[in-house]
């Protein structure tokens, strides 16, 4: 097979695997800080214990998630060079400092304080420990900041000049705060919030269904529902702005997302179609008239550029068209589930014992909904940049590795096998950790507690 295609597949496999873990940990760090503060500020000993249990279970999830994020991130730092050597040779002057700052201000910060955060509680004071937790969460966010600055620059390059084929920085402010960066950063942080919220919702609901929940599961589930109910509509708004920004700077991406071949006024919003790249048309079209124009131009007769205006320089249509619909569909589903769930919970007098089992089943079924939406969204934006690696300026094929395609094929197979095995192990261990009751007495961690921690009182009703 073609070496460029294999290199792309391998890189895609790696970033797909990698993004699963930051998409949880970016938000989970802050959630842990929230649990910790709740634990410290609670006056009722029972409540104090419940928040502590929540903190401890989710710290384990964080540790596992973070470790997988680190190892796949280390791999990525090598793959920039192994898969796209020409990329660094040409835009190294711009990409290099951004990646360098990521390592220096974010990667080290989170890794440096992780040990203290995870294992240091008995050895440092409460405030120092809170500080370490804050710095880990902050480091994770900073990491997202720098990586998204670079990624956005590749989508909407700015602040550069080209001298003898080499890119040089003209204005670092313009490079970092390039046109699509603020939108992409907000969109990704909210995606992480939703992914993390649904993980909390799903795992806690699973614990309630299995009858292994302690009272802290209810607290986590409620936190997750409120978190998701706030983040989902915010994400819709942010996504809309991001889409308008993309329309302005990368109209070919939007044309592919909407499956528009010819420039049209009053373009329909296609709900179903099978775009055919070879015939340059859609089959089995089914859509709502004028809605795409209304959404993107805020005018039912607004004009949208078609793919035929960008001959040989537009992304493949089929994967974009469907990734986008999967992302939006999952997003709408998350909005509905979080709102209906929260409304139902309010009607039940904030008591999960009254929540119908099918509803808990839906919650549990959506544990990884955030992953689906996040990955689909990343495919839209990354495949949507093709055939360029730096939008409109450098073609991906021109910077690919000169390594023989057989080597790439072998390593691709190894990576995929390792990643699939680890992913299965990760999901399996999450399930196992959720189902194993926390039997520790917490004698050392919460000396002010009297008596044994109580099991979740209403477990019988779920049995």
């Amino acid at each position: 097979m073609d070496a460029v295609f294999l290199a792309r597949m391998q890189f895609a496999a790696n970033i797909t695997f990698h993004i699963l873990f930051p998409s949880i940990s970016i938000a989970l760090g802050w959630v842990l800080l929230f649990f910790r503060v709740k634990h410290l500020r609670a006056t009722d000993p029972q409540q104090k214990l419940e928040w502590l249990r929540a903190y401890r279970l989710w710290t384990k999830v964080f540790a596992l998630t973070f470790a997988l994020g680190v190892v796949s991130g280390v791999t990525m730092s090598f793959q920039f060079g192994t898969n796209w050597p020409g990329y660094m040779e040409r835009v190294g002057n711009i990409a290099g400092p951004l990646l360098g700052y990521e390592v220096l201000t974010a990667f080290f910060l989170e890794a440096g304080f992780l040990g203290v955060m995870l294992f240091g509680h008995r050895r440092v004071g409460e405030m120092v420990h809170l500080g370490a937790t804050f710095l880990v969460a902050f480091g994770t966010l900073m990491s997202a900041f720098w990586i998204l600055a670079l990624n956005s620059w590749m989508q909407t390059p700015a602040g550069y000049e080209i001298v003898d084929g080499q890119f040089h920085a003209r204005s670092w402010l313009e490079i970092i705060f390039n046109p699509s960066f603020p939108y992409r950063l907000v969109h990704m942080v909210l995606a992480s919030a939703l992914t993390c919220a649904f993980l909390m919702i799903g795992i806690s609901a699973w614990q309630l269904l299995k009858g292994v929940a302690t009272a802290s599961a209810s607290r986590v589930l409620r936190t997750g529902l409120i978190f998701a109910a706030l983040a989902a509509p915010a994400q819709m708004v942010a996504g809309d702005f991001h889409g308008l920004n993309t329309l302005k700077h990368q109209p070919q991406k939007i044309a592919a997302v909407e499956g528009i071949w010819e420039t049209t006024r009053g373009a329909p919003l296609l709900l179903f179609a099978i775009p055919d790249d070879a015939a340059r048309t859609n089959r089995f079209e089914w859509g709502i008239p004028k809605l795409a124009s209304l959404i993107l131009r805020h005018d039912p007769d607004g004009e949208l550029k078609g793919l035929n205006e960008f001959p040989s320089a537009h992304p493949p249509v089929l994967p974009l068209f469907w990734s986008f619909r999967i992302m939006v569909g999952t997003g709408i589903l998350m909005l509905l589930v979080s709102w209906i769930g929260l409304w139902r919970h309010w009607r039940d007098g904030w008591d999960f014992a009254k929540m119908p089992r099918p509803m808990l089943g839906i919650f549990a079924g959506m544990t990884f909904a955030g992953w689906v939406a996040t990955i689909a969204g990343w495919y839209v934006t990354e495949i949507g940049r093709q055939p360029f690696i730096v939008s409109g300026l450098i073609r991906t094929a021109d910077v690919a590795s000169r390594v023989p395609s057989s080597s790439i094929a072998v390593t691709f197979a190894i990576y995929v096998a390792v990643y699939l095995a680890l992913l299965a192990a990760y999901v399996g261990v999450l399930k196992y950790m959720a189902e194993t009751a926390d039997k520790k007495s917490y004698a050392s961690a919460s000396t002010d507690l009297a008596g044994d921690p109580q099991e979740y009182q209403r477990r019988g009703e779920f049995a």
Binding site: A67, V74, F78, M88, G92, T105, L118, F119
Partner: protein
């Protein structure tokens, strides 16, 4: 020399130091990982606990080292990593497996723990052997011929031995009781092959590369640089003597580890002296491979501000977890 010409030198220094810190710090935790195949299940828990709070940050130095290579010397980065494509991949697979196994082993079902321990040990070995092979290929300038694979192969055995010795002395420092006794035995076993490996490499490098030979074995340079192998030899002998004495179990338990760090530092100096001013021996000098001065200045500002802070909080973390290892607990 103008500041712009000095910049690549500053960066090769920073990159070298990052990789040295990586080799020493991840070296001891890779070493501990490899030694786990000789330990009982309870000892394994203590061994993992001794490196638990540190390994994440240790691995970050590799990212910084490779990052600086990528950022400051993009041409060398492309060349080196294309030459080392397969061993790099296998090393990464090793690092992925051990990093994942480290967390899975205590969180998965109890009957899976043995499997994760095996993966942890195997991952540590795979990563160490690959790093040795990569070092060997790099030092010999990616030469072709029958002797080059033998040279790389020898380092692929010697470097894991060095890591094992470093890991064993780390355990001498961080543990007590029967495990400490075992660690002293492991150190004694790992000492001869590591020393032999170091001697062989020091002899073979000038044989395999002419520019290295010229650099070391001409007067008057030989008089000045001879102090490096001499000090290394004294430090290694001191490590062996300490391991045989009761002091290694008591107040001086930190000294073998510290002396080995010195040995790694001296070997690094020797290697730098052999290679300078090349990034890839006989093919690319630091100036040929460097990025534009504007970009290097931007990164240098970041490095000057953040590196002292990174060193400070790394020191803080080691201070928090100083002393003998106790059970790790998410509290």
């Amino acid at each position: 020399m103008s500041f712009d010409e000095l910049l690549p030198l500053i960066f090769i220094g920073l990159m070298g130091v990052s990789l040295l810190v990586y080799v020493v710090s991840d070296g001891y935790d890779l070493g501990v990982g490899m030694l786990m195949h000789r330990a009982t299940p309870e000892e394994r828990d203590t061994m993992v606990a001794s490196i638990g709070p540190f390994w994440d940050a240790n691995e970050t130095w590799l990212v910084l080292g490779v990052g600086l290579l990528l950022v400051a010397f993009p041409k060398a980065h492309g060349l080196v990593l294309s030459e080392l494509y397969l061993p790099t991949t296998l090393m990464l697979v090793g690092l992925i497996l051990r990093g994942a196994a480290f967390d899975f082993r205590v969180k998965a079902k109890a009957d899976r723990k043995v499997m994760w321990d095996r993966l942890f040990i195997a991952g540590s070995m795979l990563a160490s052997v690959c790093q040795g092979w990569m070092l060997g290929r790099y030092v010999s300038g990616f030469g072709e011929g029958w002797n080059y694979p033998i040279f790389a192969g020898a380092i692929a055995i010697a470097l894991p031995m060095a890591y094992a010795l470093l890991g064993a002395t780390w355990l001498v420092m961080k543990t007590d009781g029967p495990l400490q006794d075992k660690a002293i035995e492991w150190s004694k076993i790992a000492w001869p092959p590591m020393v032999l490996g170091l001697i062989l490499i020091s002899m073979a490098t000038p044989w395999i590369s002419e520019s290295v030979r010229v650099r070391w074995f001409t007067l008057p340079a030989i008089i000045a640089v001879a102090s490096i192998p001499i000090t290394t030899g004294i430090a290694l002998l001191a490590v062996r003597l300490l391991l045989g004495s009761p002091a290694a179990r008591g107040g001086l338990c930190w000294l073998p580890f510290a002396l080995l760090v010195l040995v790694f530092f001296l070997s690094f100096l020797g290697l730098s002296y052999s290679i300078y001013p090349f990034v890839v021996i006989d093919r690319l000098t630091v100036w040929q491979a460097a990025s534009s001065p504007e970009s290097l200045k931007i990164i240098l500002i970041g490095v000057s501000i953040t590196l002292p802070v990174i060193i400070a909080y790394t020191g803080f973390s080691y201070r928090v977890f100083r002393g003998k290892t106790i059970e790790l607990d998410y509290a």
